[in-house]
């Protein structure tokens, strides 16, 4: 196993290959940053150009794109509250408020540092897990997916003190919205409002996110004006902000570690994967945080945990590839497609016959991740200046990017309308005190959860016992119950304490 690692590493030092990684890193940063234009699009765009390149070079190029995209997406999440990639959504929850408080470079610093650490930890855990891949992958089936999703949904509801009812309502609304579309379990087209094709695949994540995050904020800018930084100034110009962010990451090392582990483990689960892991990392970080009340208002450990999970999850989508040669995500699928075009067959024998290519992907991603973080740390101060520019100048740019992003997903003009509608709804909801956080989490987890639930029942010919007879599912269920009880206990204790004062 290690001689193929050495082969891959020696290829890395080759100037042409390293150049490819650099190109990939820059491309990934840019495409990650642009909302709606996903890294999948970036890779698809470059696919025709790879004709004639050596397979290992192709892998370095693509892994370069994959490794830097998470951080690229964080930049737009922190500065403009637009997740550059769907999995950057949870970064918005606390990264953007921090920018509004004038500490954008601190947030960027946290993001860059936590991304780098998350990628490293994810890689280490990945290597440790490789011998046991198959048992791990086989242990998680639809009942376990459902329990994981349920855990995510429950932890949001229980963990927001004071807003629990509104949080639940928003989550419920999110779940309802996620159910729109054709169910490939029941064969029924739901809530299509008469359209045959447009809503067949449901409310698409990218335009919905652009609406809920970007358009929502733009409406707010329109109403309030000013600058992204509420005070109009930055509290942390120069290097002080960035360094503070780096120190935050080491201060909250536990959040980083926990985020990395959650990211990797959820990243392993096919179908559940990347978009979900950042929300779960967020929820879990709030559970264990010393200052949970700060979540949503710019809590550094929130950002750290989420950023770490975003970069470690990429290790997760490699595990099914290493185990069976099967992609763990759509970007992996494209990568494997590139393999096929270059005459390499992905499949269970991939690990046996082409382990050096697998290592090339792993190493390429890591290097790109580190380079992207380094660029981030250096450029954070400069990027943070965007928060002191009057929104009058920023809004046209952001709005254009938002509309382009909504359109680019499937080249459908109606998606722009969808984004606008989502934005208006999101704005109205947040004005009435409903947390957008739970709406988004409900939306993301809703249909995944329903699918897993129904598949489980198909597997068991309709018997609910399947959730309790499988050991891991049962374990997760007990964990949910315990979390719930603990949450209630904390809430009651808070109330009791308030009554005493």
């Amino acid at each position: 196993m290690f001689d193929s690692l050495l082969i891959a590493a020696s290829q890395l030092i080759d100037p042409y290959n390293f150049f490819l990684i650099l190109v990939g890193t820059l491309v990934g940063l840019v495409f990650g940053f642009l909302p709606g234009v996903t890294l999948l699009t970036a890779m698809a765009l470059f696919l025709p150009f790879t004709h004639g390149m050596k397979p290992i070079g192709v892998m370095f190029l693509f892994s370069g794109i994959m490794g830097s995209a998470p951080f690229g997406g964080s930049i737009s999440a922190i500065l403009f509250n637009i997740p550059g990639e769907p999995f950057n959504a949870a970064t918005c929850f606390d990264g953007y408020p921090m920018a509004r408080q004038g500490e954008a470079s601190r947030a960027l610093g946290i993001s860059a540092m936590a991304s780098a650490l998350g990628g490293l930890i994810g890689l280490v855990v990945l290597i440790l897990l490789i011998p046991a891949i198959r048992p791990i992958l086989f242990a998680f089936g639809p009942p376990e997916f459902f329990m994981v999703v349920l855990f995510g949904l429950v932890t949001i509801a229980v963990a927001i003190p004071g807003q629990m009812l509104k949080g639940l309502v928003a989550a419920g609304l999110g779940i309802l919205i996620s159910l729109i579309g054709f169910s490939s379990v029941t064969g029924v087209l739901r809530f299509s409002f008469g359209s045959q094709n447009y809503l067949w695949d449901g409310i698409k994540l990218v335009p919905f996110f652009i609406g809920i995050f970007a358009i929502n904020e733009i409406i707010d800018y329109f109403v309030h004006g000013g600058t992204i930084s509420l005070s109009g100034e930055r509290k942390d110009s120069g290097l002080t902000g960035v360094l503070r962010g780096v120190r935050d990451v080491f201060h909250h090392w536990y959040a980083v570690l926990q985020g990395s582990v959650v990211g990797l483990i959820i990243g392993i689960l096919p179908g559940v994967g990347g978009t979900v892991s950042n929300f779960l990392a967020y929820s879990m970080a709030r559970q264990v945080s010393k200052d949970p009340g700060r979540f949503g208002k710019g809590a550094p450990d929130a950002i750290a945990a989420v950023e770490a999970s975003n970069n470690s999850k990429d290790g997760g989508d490699l595990l099914p590839t290493v185990a069976f040669g099967i992609p763990g995500s759509s970007t992996m699928a494209l990568l494997l497609g590139a393999f096929i075009l270059h005459g390499i067959n992905p499949g269970p024998l991939l690990v046996r016959d082409h382990l050096d290519i697998v290592w090339a992907i792993i190493l390429g991603r890591l290097v790109s991740n580190l380079i992207a973080s380094a660029i981030g740390l250096i450029a954070a101060d400069f990027l943070a200046r965007a928060t002191t520019i009057s929104v009058m100048y920023l809004v046209p740019v952001i709005l254009t990017l938002a509309f382009l992003g909504a359109y680019a997903d499937r080249e459908n003009v109606l998606d722009i309308a969808l984004a606008i509608v989502s934005g208006v709804i999101g704005y109205m909801l947040s004005r009435c005190g409903f947390p957008v956080v739970t709406l988004v989490i409900g939306f993301v987890l809703g249909n995944i959860g329903e699918l897993a639930f129904l598949q489980s029942l198909q597997m068991s010919f309709g018997s609910y016992s399947i959730f309790f007879t499988r050991p891991i599912s049962l374990l997760l269920f007990i964990g949910i119950v315990v979390t719930c009880l603990y949450g209630f206990y904390k809430m009651l204790r808070e109330r009791a304490r308030k009554r005493e004062t």
Binding site: F138, P142, F182, S184, D201, G325, G337, P348
Partner: protein, 327 residues
């Protein structure tokens, strides 16, 4: 001075009013190839490989540009192809999995009519294999028939090709059809089979190849009259006594109304590309070579379509029930 301007305008107008290039100059610019599925998948990889081979015959600089238009199980891309200008500069692939929807809803509401496409050819076909995991107790179609009601079939979703193959199989064998569905693609379904979500599933013989080689998947039957050359020890469904017709073909088509001369050119390009040595080398090394058994042109595509429609209409009632879209 004025005369000069008038002269320039007249000359320019002559230039602009030049007659459109005659068919004999087709193709003289890039051709778009719509793939109704995601980049990296089976259709996509075929399109890119074929596109490269076909480009060799195109005039200098003209390319085949692959466009992935995904959604609704392939219907969004196919509908886009259906509505495109029939000038030969947009072609695409059609997956027969979208036929059930057209049958259930009727072509008006479906937005496309597979009968009306200008077919270019069949560039690949492969039989379905019924596969189980390595240690499954099922050894043959006879076991499947005996176990009948206790078995769960893995499919992607009602109406798509795996579902169709499984439905035809269970229909011909006279056993109940219990499904576990909702997987996003074959790459989600195969691990699901291996971890035991369900008992067996139809899988394309070429897609299954790597897993059969590694021993993870065990084919118990090939849904065809003959055995599959890559694993000749597996008996066909015909040999096992069951007459199951459920073909899988990869079809290339142009929008309805594309002039026959253009179709002839495209058909020629396609068939020539399938003989291209570089493409053959790629196909053999990636296992897709088994799919180019008998490349066929436009007429063969037409016949295959008709046969497939006949078979599918036999199960129209079941399909409308499963795809409750028309309610």
């Amino acid at each position: 001075m004025l005369a000069k301007i008038i002269l320039t305008v007249i000359v320019a107008l002559f230039g602009l009013s030049a007659p459109p290039s005659a068919q004999s100059q087709y193709p003289d610019k890039d051709i778009s190839w719509i793939v109704p599925f995601a980049a990296g998948g089976g259709y996509d990889v075929w399109a890119r490989a074929l596109g490269r081979a076909m480009e060799k015959e195109l005039p200098k600089g003209a390319k085949i540009v692959v466009k992935n238009v995904t959604g609704a199980g392939g219907r969004v891309g196919t509908t886009q192809l259906y509505r495109a200008k029939p000038d030969g500069y947009t072609i695409g692939m059609v997956d027969l999995g979208i036929l059930p929807f057209q049958i259930a809803m009727g072509p008006e509401k479906a937005g496309y009519d597979l009968n009306r496409f200008s077919w270019i050819g069949v560039f690949a076909e492969a039989p379905w294999t019924i596969a189980v995991k390595k240690d499954s107790p099922l050894k043959s179609l006879k076991d499947v028939k005996t176990q009948g009601a206790k078995l769960r079939w893995g499919v992607l979703g009602p109406g798509e090709t795996h579902w169709l193959a499984a439905m035809v199989t269970t229909g011909e064998m006279g056993i109940p059809f219990n499904i576990v569905s909702g997987y996003g693609g074959v790459s989600e379904m195969i691990p699901a089979l291996l971890r035991g979500d369900f008992d067996l599933c139809p899988v394309l013989s070429t897609s299954a190849l790597e897993y059969v080689k590694s021993g993870d998947l065990r084919p118990i039957a090939v849904l065809d009259d003959e055995r599959f050359p890559a694993y000749p020890e597996v008996p066909s469904s015909k040999e096992q006594g069951f007459n199951i017709f459920s073909p899988f073909v990869r079809l290339a088509a142009a929008p309805p109304g594309t002039p026959p001369q253009i179709i002839k050119v495209l058909e020629g390009l396609l068939l020539k590309a399938l003989k291209d040595p570089e493409l053959r080398k790629w196909a053999d090394s990636s296992g897709r070579g088994y799919e180019i058994v008998r490349p066929k042109g436009a007429d063969a595509a037409r016949t295959t379509m008709d046969e497939f429609i006949k078979v599918t209409q036999k199960y129209q009632k079941e399909m409308s029930a499963a795809l409750q879209v028309s309610k």
